[in-house]
Amino acid sequence: MVDKLMKFAKIALWLVPIVFLFWLFNKNFVPGGILTAKCDADKCSKLAAAFATKEPEKIIGETKDGDRYRLIAHDPIYFTIKTPRPFAKAKISAEFANPDNQPVFNFGLQAANGAYVFKNVFSQNSLIEQLEKDWEVIKENDSYLFTRPPEQVSDDKKDDIEKIEKKPIKKYSSISDFANDLPPLDEVRAHNYDLSDYIRLKDYKPSDKRLEIGNTLRGPHEIVTYIENEPLDFKFSFQDINRHKGADNFSIIVSRGGKKVLEKKVSDDGISKASGAVKDLKEVKIYLEKPAFGAHTIFIQAKDDDIFIKNISTAQSLVMFSNHIYLADDDEYKVLEGVASKASGVLLSGQTLSARTSHKGALQTITVDKKPLILKEVNKEYEFKRNKTQIGILQVAIPKSDVYLSTDGFFVFDRRQFFNPDLGAVLNLGADVPANINYVVAQYPKLTELSNGWLKAEAEFSGQELYRDDKGQYSFILQVPGLPENKRILKLRKIEVEFTKEPITVFNLWTKVKTKFKL
């Protein structure tokens, strides 16, 4: 009996290091995808280092409820975590008591250049807190929409008020409802909230006719158009003149608010020698069925000036050329089908205009708002600056074409194609709310209240924000500006980081191994 028990005990003892080894593998490879590291008042995870190094002494206190805390009197609080592998996301949270009402908390993570990327987790604003009490509020996570409440008037004043007709304030059911159907911008103020993606062009209606731009244009161009309740529909006709060596494949990129929404690659015509041989026209269609409303930019990223745009056909009615336009209806390019010298005319919205030509035959006198701009030499920039009396869009007449025009504004071929792509802006909330303001939209993160007066602040870092240095460390920071200067203290109970990545499964294991060992 004793021998049997001994045998069993020995097996159990040998199992301990085996289980422990599995536990280490689990900790190092994190197959579940989640790794947590934390520091509390007394001890820190083995992965954590440099915790609260600015504190000259480690002072630990205890509340009457038995909660132990680390006394913090210096800014910032550093927190470094060494992880066995990189992660896709990191959620950092701190639990603390704020007896001296420290008003600002920022979490930060050190980026590759050594600077910290900060996220504000709390920034006390007494006006926002007052609005929360006095105005009607829609709260969605950290976002707030404050709507001015109807004025309360006493019965004896009602008759006088009724004589003054006041437009009722529209009520919204959600913040997205509000953003998608904005009231006049002079009734709105914002606090840490970007509404620029929601501002529409006033009185815009899609056109039922296609716009044809038949001017021949040379090289890369940037087109700005406006879209609302319509598909994005452009057809370009390209031809390659093959005057430069190398393939002339290029991309057409559509972007909105600086973010790419579509990319189309256009292949070379098959002639990479600088032979001057020209093949047939190539038609390229750019189409998006339901794009988001707003200004879109179409970049035709031709590498050099071999690519000619022979025609642009579009369902959009507002089409402008940004920065430059290279007019190329000239005999110089008569090798291209249908191209011959002809006068061109464009309209200019910018403050300045520069013009140059590369060919002697195109030396000419351009007129800008009936004022001459003489091109005397090839490859030399000639500049026009508008004076104070020259307001609005100016007419530019180019008698011979083959001219590269650049501006700090836009070019259009017809006055009706122009629009201001800066669709307006919502002003930020100041020290008070003016009487004409009926809506305040705000991003106002608050600290989570826990039991016994403890508070919790959280922030999440992901993607490019999440930088792991060559030692495998992530360097976090909790910034509490003004804490030592105002002799405030914080009682820090816990600081924790939860890292997450894609879990390892039987389905992705082989892909991961292949990626790791570059198989």
């Binding site: 004793v2 003892l13 190092n28 066995p84």
Partner: protein, 140 residues
């Protein structure tokens, strides 16, 4: 508690602690080796010195208790003979040791290779020498 029960408990405890010593020593060596090749693999989550403490504690206890036992059992003849299995085991261990030294000295290039081969041979010869010495002592 009778003397027999106490003796039984003492015997079980001795045997278990001796087993703990073997397990903890082997585990410590393995974890130390892993830690040396993959820094942070063990120490990132567990203080390896805790294991060293267990090795030392259980080792001291085992040695002391074994001494008592050997005093009691003096006069008993123990026959230790080198078997082929021992030689194979020593050769394998020497090769592993030489390989590890080779990995650790790879920055030295050919010199590292020479050092690791010589080290492997020394380990092999020393182990055989130790075993044969024990055998000779036994024969005397």
């Amino acid at each position: 508690m009778t003397i027999q029960t106490f003796q039984l408990i003492w015997k079980v405890a001795k045997e278990l602690i001796a087993e703990i010593f073997k397990i903890s020593l082997l585990s410590y060596l393995i974890f130390y080796l892993i830690e040396d090749f993959f820094p942070g693999f063990v120490s990132g989550f567990f203080g390896i010195n805790i294991l060293l403490g267990i090795v030392a504690g259980s080792g001291v206890f085992t040695v002391v208790s074994q001494k008592e036992e050997s005093k009691e059992g003096e006069g008993k003849e123990v026959k230790n003979k080198i078997r082929a299995r021992d030689i194979v085991f020593i050769v394998i261990l020497s090769i592993i040791a030489g390989g590890l030294i080779c990995i650790k000295t790879k920055d030295l290039g050919k010199l590292g290779l020479v050092i690791s081969i010589i080290s492997g041979i020394i380990i092999l010869l020393m182990s055989i020498l130790l075993l044969t010495e024990e055998e000779k002592n036994d024969q005397i």
